[in-house]
Symmetry: C2
Subunit: 254 residues, 2 copies
Amino acid sequence: MARIAVFNQKGGVGKTTTTLNLAAAIAARGGLPLAIDLDPQAHLSAIARAVPRTSDGSIYAYYRDARPLSSLVVDSPLGWPIIPAHIELAKVDTQFGKGPNILNRLRAGLARDGFGEAGSVLIDCCPMLGVLSLSAIFAADRILVPVSADYLAVKGAAQVDRTLNALQRVVGRRIERRYVITRFDQRRKMSWDILATFKARFGADLAESRISENVSIAESPSSERDVFAHAPASRGAADYGALFEELEATGFLE
Amino acid sequence: MARIAVFNQKGGVGKTTTTLNLAAAIAARGGLPLAIDLDPQAHLSAIARAVPRTSDGSIYAYYRDARPLSSLVVDSPLGWPIIPAHIELAKVDTQFGKGPNILNRLRAGLARDGFGEAGSVLIDCCPMLGVLSLSAIFAADRILVPVSADYLAVKGAAQVDRTLNALQRVVGRRIERRYVITRFDQRRKMSWDILATFKARFGADLAESRISENVSIAESPSSERDVFAHAPASRGAADYGALFEELEATGFLE
Ligand SMILES: Nc1ncnc2c1ncn2[C@@H]1O[C@H](COP(=O)(O)OP(=O)(O)OP(=O)(O)O)[C@@H](O)[C@H]1O
Ligand SMILES: Nc1ncnc2c1ncn2[C@@H]1O[C@H](COP(=O)(O)OP(=O)(O)OP(=O)(O)O)[C@@H](O)[C@H]1O
Ligand SMILES: [Mg+2]
Ligand SMILES: [Mg+2]
């Protein structure tokens, strides 16, 4: 089963939204998703009503005290478990040069506790290419890259591509990735131009399914729910359902 | 004249877009804006066609070699000057604990060269509360906080508020701030609910002017232009013009 880093160094492209709704789709289909919030801003944890009062209950405790990851898993009203983040997690990003092994610690922790063997692990990354996000990329079997359908995100997607290719030389293996267009507004010519650009650039690495700009997707966090619970008949729910189907069928979640 | 940090630790809320279009509005009115790109992802620099080939031509050279900031200013086809960023700037964010004075170096550099005395300095921040963004906040006379009209941005705005209040105790003075709602979609009930929430929370710190969700704003980076040059008759141009007028009239740009 897969360990998937949901990564894009560009801000606001739908990483948290995609982690939330993909985990929900997996759970609805009887899969066993585990979410790991690796963003000190802890937005996914907040939606899951799982933000710990102190960093002791967060993934920072793994880094600081070597607490086993399995001891940090909490259930959530969303219906699937999460290892929450905490603002103190930001200290990890300042630890470059404090030992090259920091980048491998997450991978080691997941392996030690057997995460990703029976179910899918989805790691929500912060919008920065630092120790945390690199740790997620190194820990993952594959990378899911949400890219919003706007020009500044196109620039960001090109950077992600270059970054992953550079990292491949470091890790010595192909880093499997899938780009997913988000916030696609079919009424805008820009959306279609960008779709063409992404198809040309990413080819088979671009998911067929795209996520429409849909108010239900934007609304669901306010009631601390995923889009399926919040608005099951919405376009947003349909689109995330279709994305799940495609990733499942193409073995991306294995 | 003002040194303004355009800051929000949440990603994708319109920091770069607001820096771009506010600088353009200031320049159009005969002001002398200077933009400083403090985001290693250098999106503003890219729109300005000013990304330097090596970090020698970027603000990283100030941090690494103490090159004077005035020597790093370049003109741009946008019509106003910029000190560009570079991916190597990310190294600065890993330098917490390498001396408390790192947070004051930008402020000192601006003062040394007299920036912000004759014109407005706008500092585009990255979506992280690290050394770079904190440096911008410490260097600035006031903070402009774009917040997009969606619930995850509401969470982010609350965090910004708490952060600025905490920093006030550190710097020993009130940190003047203005919140600006961006990506406001008047057709969505959510937008109006969020507007009410922000009014209640931020009161007089909330700008009256808000920036509508407008495709022209999203398109302008693709032709490396601001929205006034790209689509002068658009709603986006009108909204950024109105924001400029309000900030000017209320002395925020002084
Ligand atoms: N398809 C969509 N339709 C409408 N709104 C969306 C959609 N996808 C995301 N959003 C909204 O856009 C905003 C940014 O999304 P999100 O926070 O998931 O991005 P992110 O990449 O995790 O951001 P960050 O870089 O700050 O972590 C959120 O308010 C979210 O609700
Ligand atoms: N008012 C608007 N209408 C339409 N699109 C907008 C608007 N404001 C911003 N955008 C688009 O939203 C995306 C995010 O904006 P932008 O990159 O300026 O945010 P940011 O806060 O600087 O992001 P980051 O945190 O990654 O630096 C961009 O593609 C931009 O073109
Ligand atoms: Mg996020
Ligand atoms: Mg930006």
